[in-house]
Symmetry: C2
Subunit: 148 residues, 2 copies
């Protein structure tokens, strides 16, 4: 899938991603990198609303897992169970969200478990950056369920 | 402020709240209760996108603190520092978000500290409900900073 096709998929199926004007800058085995501008995500202080920052971080994490499972040809659904979000700095403009696995070395056993038992758990973290500096950190726990 | 005026304020100053079609159902000393419909918050599985659920929970928590500080005539700004979100059940339609203080007995000392030292910390929790059942639980830590 091209970056453009991924972006279209997100905007069509998760309309909040279109409302937040999320763009897909990179998507590969290592990461998914999204960006979002200030205007649709602004708050009353003219910085990014925390709920937007967290939603873009969640979207990056989900997109990363979704694409990797698709590539691994595993037919399953992803459910987010829990996340934490640390807001490190106010964001005054366009920001990025880079999702990666917390423990990349566990990917293979995650896929094997999902295929054998129909259920497996994995953690994804997303770094938010604004103007070249860290602005927030998200960690999400997902469960993947194999479709029968 | 009437519920309608609060809703207008949110929609104008935090445009994501308009995109999510958030409505203000109640706002008093004890709680802020918001609702949001499925359509603008849907995901590819036809349930509420986790990022939307968390953003509505964050909005409820922020709105609660904002209104109470306003009522207490404390001129300050609120910064969210950290939050956790637990997703308990998939949400298939309109849902509500009810924000309350984690420790209501600490409100007075929070306001006193803010007035005396210009900085104070407080926690808010938000319960998400769908169809009469708990669907998610958010806890957020906020810092209030007095304007000089």
């Amino acid at each position: 899938m091209s970056l453009h096709a991924i972006q279209d998929y997100l905007h069509q199926h998760i309309p909040l991603s279109a409302a937040m004007e999320v763009a897909v800058l990179a998507a590969d085995d290592q990461q998914v990198l999204l960006s979002a501008p200030l205007a649709p995500n602004i708050n009353h202080r003219s910085t990014v609303f925390g709920g937007s920052a967290s939603a873009v971080a969640t979207l990056a994490a989900w997109t990363y897992l979704h694409l990797r499972l698709r590539e691994a040809k595993v037919d399953g659904q992803l459910v987010i169970q829990r996340n934490t979000m640390n807001y490190q700095q106010p964001i005054y403009g366009e920001f990025t969200a880079r999702a990666t696995l917390v423990q990349p070395e566990k990917w293979d056993s995650f896929v094997r478990l999902l295929q054998r038992r129909g259920r497996a758990r994995i953690r994804v973290e997303t770094e938010l950056e604004y103007n070249g500096e860290k602005a927030g950190h998200f960690t999400g726990e997902f469960v993947a369920l194999a479709n029968e």
